[in-house]
């Protein structure tokens, strides 16, 4: 089962829910995997403190021109939709940072003058986390992608992370905030999406956008309201109107905020929170099984 945790914006508690949902499943005897696709700001590792046992780089194939073969026909410049390659007078200029690695120029060159060479844009680390006491198990599986600083394109890193996700009975994917291409690339093949929000006008506004995105992808979504009891009733009314289920409400709590800010897994230290997560896990499981039937 793949559950993606998303939110219209960051800071709503998305990572908190993702980390603890992965942790509670492990505690309940599942083989749980936590996957961080928020590659611009991956934070899950702060809480899960994984022991990393494998690392790989993510690369993008960019064109390299063989000057001997090139006759400056200009075809490569014409096919590139990203202005990453331009033919000026008799030279071909390549701008690797702009290249999306589509292979268009490589296929289009009539002289076979283009080869592709990998360029690093980020990396993936995988390992296991032993933050949760669960005897006889080998720890929570952990994978995260990291976009290199000063790289603009997150999607190739996300795609590479997704390819590494193992088949497991419980996979929690921490999605990037927002509703843009990165978020879509992350949640598109999830079995279920949990949208984490706050009961405030900002939270509602961003929830509406995120919900529409997920609905357009034809994935079932439920809502988790974080810091319940602080703002107004807008989120509740919206969910009722749209027929979206609110699967959990996490009360505003100074204790939770403190455990979070220390960088610890919250279910280990707060029983009330742990039971909310356990309940949430059961509900999500049921919804996915109902879907699949």
């Amino acid at each position: 089962m793949k559950i993606a945790i998303a939110s219209g914006k960051g800071g709503t508690g998305k990572t908190t829910v993702a980390v603890n949902l992965a942790a509670i499943a492990q505690l309940n005897g599942k083989r749980s995997v936590y996957v961080d696709c928020d590659v611009e700001e991956p934070n899950g590792h702060i809480f899960l403190k994984p022991e990393i046992d494998s690392q790989q780089t993510v690369t993008n194939p960019v064109p390299v021109i063989d000057d001997e073969k090139c006759d400056s026909c200009g075809e490569c410049g014409k096919i590139c939709h990203f202005n990453a390659i331009a033919v000026i007078l008799d030279s071909v200029l390549v701008f690797p940072e702009l290249c999306h690695g589509c292979g268009g120029c490589f296929h289009a060159c009539p002289k076979g003058a283009i080869t592709e060479s990998p360029r690093e844009v980020g990396k993936i680390e995988a390992g296991r986390s032993y933050q949760v006491e669960a005897s006889g198990k080998e720890g929570i599986g952990f994978i995260h992608g990291i976009l290199n600083l000063n790289e603009a394109m997150a999607v190739p890193v996300i795609r590479a992370v997704r390819k590494m996700i193992p088949e497991s009975e419980w996979v929690v994917i921490d999605a990037p905030p927002g509703t843009s291409c990165s978020m879509v690339a992350t949640v598109r093949d999830a079995d279920y999406v949990l949208l984490v929000t706050e009961p405030t006008p900002f939270g509602l506004h961003d929830l509406e956008l995120a919900y529409r995105t997920v609905r357009d992808l034809d994935i079932t979504a439920g809502v988790v309201v974080n810091r319940a009891g602080t703002g107004d009733s807008g989120v509740g009314e919206f969910c009722a109107r749209e027929g979206i289920e609110i699967l959990a409400e996490i009360p505003e709590s100074r204790e939770i905020a403190e455990i979070y800010s220390r960088g610890s897994v919250i279910i280990n230290e707060d029983e009330g929170f742990a039971s909310i997560m356990a309940e949430l896990m059961k509900k999500v499981e049921k919804r996915i099984m109902a879907e699949q039937r």
Binding site: G77, N83, I88, L93, F95, L98
Partner: protein, 120 residues
């Protein structure tokens, strides 16, 4: 030789545009004929990325030998070097005034990019 000046409008009485890749117009001054012509850059300026590269290409295709503008980013600069177009920093003012200053030899040639990429 043809000289291109980034311009906020299609006339030599318009101000020079400080931007290169995102300029809407160029005024092209032909030193032999002593005449101006306007050239639209709207399609390159609308590119999501690499506007400066496309703009450099446009100037190259129009046989321009020198460019006067405000700021040029690194990618655009490489394109201009490949196109053998010299770059001059124009300061501020109307296109016609800046061209007079250029003809009087008062403008300085720019030898490298002077802003980061993505300068809007």
């Amino acid at each position: 030789m043809k000289i291109a000046i980034t311009a906020v409008g299609p006339s030599e009485e318009d101000e020079m545009d400080q931007r290169f890749g995102r300029t809407k117009y160029f005024m092209i001054y032909d030193t032999e004929a002593g005449e101006y012509q306007s050239l639209s850059n709207s399609s390159a300026a609308a590119e999501s990325q690499g506007a400066g590269i496309r703009t450099g290409e446009l100037l190259s295709n129009n046989g321009v030998g020198a460019l006067i503008t405000g700021h040029v980013g690194p990618k655009a600069f490489s394109t201009l070097i490949a196109a053998k177009i010299k770059v001059f920093s124009g300061g501020k003012g109307k296109v016609s005034e800046i061209v007079s200053r250029y003809l009087a030899g008062e403008l300085k040639e720019t030898k490298g990019p002077d802003v980061n990429s993505h300068w809007t």
